[in-house]
């Protein structure tokens, strides 16, 4: 289909602004741009149809099953979007005086209270705009904590090899050296290797539990104790909180600081890649280091306070506020019991689907899983030369968004499946049937999987050509 620039016609446009009602002031010629500004010229009807066509060439949770592991693609309730669009939230300038933004501060303070209750933390900042942004923030709290104690030799962050790639990247950005520790054969932390890795240079450990293979690490109390005993702090990557909220709290597992992904666990839409929200919660010992600013109850109302030894700011203002509004509406809807119910059913759905698939596909790790599980297609790859990628691309022809591919790195030919709690049993049954039929197709006609997809808007794109000669913009 055409690009906006290709549909553009000289002289077309929308009528938006009235004529200027004051005398026109022009800036000096020397300040002005010389290069022509080439934006599309389109009537509103053409813009509307363009984006409707683009929408048909995309796939969201509203279109069908989206079991993208680690991303928690649960249904995004509509009330939340409507509430975020209220003029009383969307029309508020971030630098209004405090007495005119009491509602906004109440949103932040209430969301903080709810989420601290769920996670077992004492304080929370909403400034980070996404999970990775939260990781950077949380690590800066850890760094500031050690420095405030004059404990300057703690330069290393321990990260299991099964961790999300953001963990080591964030640690490096925060100025730490990364120590990778291998996982054991269950995909969990190898305690002996961890003991060997900690020491007086340990600043902390980054961990997600349930871990990236969908298993709750039973030794979690021992793990966090090993790190604490060595003088380090424990960082909880909240990417997988959807499995355990309302059942067990990171704060009770021994974690000192966490980030959440409101766009995963708390149902706010992903928007094709953002905006997300990555609030960071911490125990009291880190609260003085939180970023500027922090909403706090003050008398009858709320005020912004500046934490005494703040690490600074990771962005302007207070975070992706309207995303927090959505998450708060969701929390109000679910309440305490609903949060627990969501987690339990996320785990139930994952185990149900795993049970349905386990005789066809090889599950990478045995036993009851949490909210997601990992399949390994190593055998199919070896025997039929059909890869995880081929299976994923074939699923596209069946209207299913494929599971996460090739993650975690410790499983070969991995497909990571996360159905979430908002799918019905019928949806899971139908999906299991499709997964099974694709497997049979791989045995019968492997070539057809290499050729997939055939019904999507495009076939497989040439990624090598894209990276060798990058064309990142339309050439007029």
């Amino acid at each position: 289909m055409n690009l906006l620039f290709e549909t553009s016609r000289e002289g077309h446009g929308c009528s938006i602004l009235p004529p200027c009602d004051v005398p026109v002031t022009s800036l000096p010629e020397t300040e002005l741009r010389r290069k022509e500004l080439r934006l599309p010229q389109l009537a509103e009807v053409d813009i509307s149809r363009h984006y409707s066509a683009l929408e048909r060439r995309a796939h969201g949770v509203n279109n069908g099953f989206y079991p993208l592991g680690s991303c928690t693609m649960k249904y995004n309730p509509k009330i939340n979007d409507e509430m975020a669009a209220l003029p009383g939230f969307a029309g508020i300038h971030p630098l209004q005086p405090a007495h005119t933004v009491q509602g906004c501060l109440e949103v932040l303070a209430t969301a903080e209270q709810y989420l601290c209750e769920i996670t077992g933390m004492d304080a929370m900042t909403f400034q980070p705009a996404a999970g990775a942004h939260g990781e950077l923030t949380g690590l800066l709290l850890i760094k500031a904590y050690h420095q405030s104690r004059g404990d300057t030799g703690r330069t290393k962050i321990i990260v299991p090899d099964a961790a999300h790639g953001t963990n080591p990247a964030s640690a490096a950005m925060a100025g730490f050296t990364v120590v990778n520790v291998p996982s054991n054969d269950k995909g969990c932390v190898d305690l002996e290797k961890l003991r060997a890795a900690v020491g007086p240079d340990t600043a902390g450990l980054m961990l997600t539990n349930p871990n990236t293979v969908g298993i709750f690490d039973e030794a979690i109390l021992e793990i966090t104790k090993i790190v604490h005993d060595a003088g380090g702090l424990n960082y909880y990557d909240g990417a997988n909180l959807n499995a355990v909220m309302g059942v067990v709290r990171p704060g009770d597992m021994g974690f000192d600081v966490i980030h959440l992904n409101l766009h995963k666990t708390f149902s706010t839409p992903h928007g094709g890649g953002g905006p997300g929200s990555g609030p960071v919660g911490c125990k009291q010992l880190l609260a003085d280091f939180l970023p500027l600013y922090y909403a706090k109850k003050a008398g009858d109302g709320y005020a912004f306070v500046q934490p005494a030894q703040s690490v600074g700011s990771v962005k302007a203002f207070y975070g992706n506020f309207l995303v927090v509004v959505r998450a708060l509406a969701y929390l109000f809807t679910l309440g305490g019991d609903g949060v627990r119910e969501a987690a339990q059913n996320a785990v139930l759905n994952a185990n149900y689907l795993r049970e349905k698939l386990k005789d066809t596909y090889e599950v990478a790790f045995d036993g009851i899983c949490m909210h997601e599980f990992v399949l390994t297609l190593e055998k199919l790859k070896k025997e039929q030369d059909v890869s995880a990628l081929d299976v994923a691309k074939t699923l596209l022809d069946h209207g299913i968004h494929p599971p996460t591919m090739y993650f975690p790195l410790i499983v070969h030919e991995a497909l990571m499946v996360e159905p979430t709690e908002t799918e019905s049993r019928e949806t899971l049954d139908a999906a299991a049937e499709i997964f099974r039929s694709v497997y049979e197709q791989a045995l019968r006609d492997p070539q057809s999987l290499h050729d997939a997809p055939t019904t999507a808007p495009v076939r497989r794109p040439d990624e090598v050509a894209a990276a060798r000669n990058p064309r990142l913009r339309y050439q007029f």
Partner: protein
């Protein structure tokens, strides 16, 4: 209690049976009993109708100002209806990052169009799919410019304070130094810049127009920076970009900015949009997601995420940035806004901002609030305040007007195309009453 779980209790029991478990608790056998909680200490869940009431009540505790003369990093522009309509489309809202290119062409193409528009606005060669906001974009730009022997970042003290603080936070995190280049008469002091530039400087960041609203001599400053072998970063206002010399024309290596003025509501500070663009030479250092054009196996045009090999999910601790989620829907918002305005509409909006700001500055001067600085400005300006700024703002507030931001003993005003002549005249009258002029 509200719930989005579709299965009935009976269905759940049958599903547990199928797995071979007796109860929901059995799903959590791996969790040590000592740690488990049996309930969450929060109010009960509510129906949709009740939640709507609760949220509306909270929203009602905020004051929505019908007239706004405040900017300082968040700008009140008119948002065409088509913008909200397009970005509310369910599929755009609920899609994840376009990893599966074949079924994500709609999202990918919209980003490709966004990248093209950002290149057009800035004059630069390449743009990414967005970062969190203008402040973090500046911080990421500084990281792009750092080299082994050149690590120091210079930042104009006339940049937005929150941008400065964000750059400082990121740079301190990575153990590199930030030095502020002082301000002289409301603009970056070029002599001070020269004296601070040395072989250890990686880059210099200039905001255009600056925090005080003034238009800096960006091309001249850029030349000074390049003479010392450092990289030049500019943070621009995207509406002003319709009129002002492009970063490329000023010699910038990296151009970033806050994209909120392009169709995003004020939203108490977010979600906003960080945009980043750079020269061809620096293209492979651009962090975050980038969409490229290629062909599919049938030779048809297709779009993909590209240049991802340096990203965190592959390069882990060696990655140049940790960013993954960005502000994709906000990038689409900006695209639709720019398509609806067109070049003509954007220039008109920019011209009206500038004209009305100058009209207001003259009116405010007559009302006893003279301009603090000489020099050309776009849509923001600082005035002195003959009486305490808080008194002034209280008075305006009583009339439904959000006045300028009190800074450094004066007031930073912003006027956009939304402000009418009548509103500006009313503002001047009220100020006259306060100043007694």
């Amino acid at each position: 209690m509200g719930s989005y779980v579709p299965t009935t209790k009976e269905e759940r029991r049958q599903m547990l049976d199928f797995i071979g478990l007796a109860s929901m608790d059995d799903l959590y056998a791996a969790v040590p009993a000592s740690m488990k909680i049996d309930h969450v200490n929060l109010p009960d869940g509510k129906s949709e109708l009740e939640v709507r009431g609760m949220m509306e009540e909270i929203a009602g505790k905020n004051r929505v100002f019908p007239t706004i003369f405040r900017g300082a990093g968040a700008y009140d522009h008119y948002i065409p209806s088509i913008v909200k309509s397009v970005v509310s489309k369910e599929t755009f809202l609920t899609a994840y990052t376009p990893y599966q290119a074949e079924i994500s062409q709609g999202i990918l193409q919209s980003i490709f169009e966004f990248q093209t528009m950002i290149c057009e606005l800035t004059g630069m060669d390449a743009a990414n799919a967005s970062v969190y906001d203008g402040a973090s974009a500046a911080a990421e730009a500084a990281a792009m410019c750092r080299e082994r022997r050149r690590t120091k970042t210079l930042v104009s003290a006339a940049a937005h304070p929150m941008v400065i603080r964000t750059v400082q936070t990121y740079c301190e995190a990575s153990g590199t130094e930030v030095v502020l280049v002082p301000v002289k008469d409301g603009k970056t002091d070029s002599e001070a810049l020269v004296s601070l530039l040395d072989d250890s400087c990686a880059c210099f960041y200039l905001q255009q127009p600056n925090y005080y609203g003034l238009i800096e001599d960006a091309a001249a400053l850029g030349e000074l920076v390049h003479q010392k072998g450092a990289k030049y970063m500019m943070g621009i206002n995207p509406i002003a970009a319709a009129l002002l010399k492009t970063p490329a024309e000023c010699g910038a290596d990296v151009a970033v900015g806050e994209g909120q003025p392009l169709g995003m509501p004020l939203s108490f500070g977010g979600p906003y949009l960080g945009f980043m663009a750079c020269t061809q030479a620096m293209m492979r250092r651009l962090p975050g997601r980038i969409v490229g054009e290629t062909a599919d196996t049938d030779g048809e045009r297709a779009f993909v995420l590209t240049l991802q090999a340096r990203e965190q999910h592959i390069r882990r601790e060696k990655a140049s940035s940790n960013i993954c989620s960005n502000q994709a829907l906000c990038a689409m918002t900006a695209s639709v806004y720019l398509a609806a305005m067109g070049a003509r509409g954007l220039r008109e909006a920019a011209s009206q901002c500038c004209s009305k700001a100058h009209y207001a500055a003259a009116a405010l001067k007559r009302a006893g609030f003279p301009l603090r600085y000489q020099g050309d400005f776009f849509h923001e300006f600082v005035t002195d305040s003959p009486v305490d700024a808080e008194t002034v703002l209280k008075k305006l507030e009583a009339y439904g007007i959000l006045g300028g931001l009190p800074i450094e003993g004066g007031i930073l005003w912003c006027v956009t195309e939304k402000n009418t002549r009548a509103q500006i005249d009313r503002l001047a009258e009220l100020l006259k009453e306060v100043s007694g002029k």
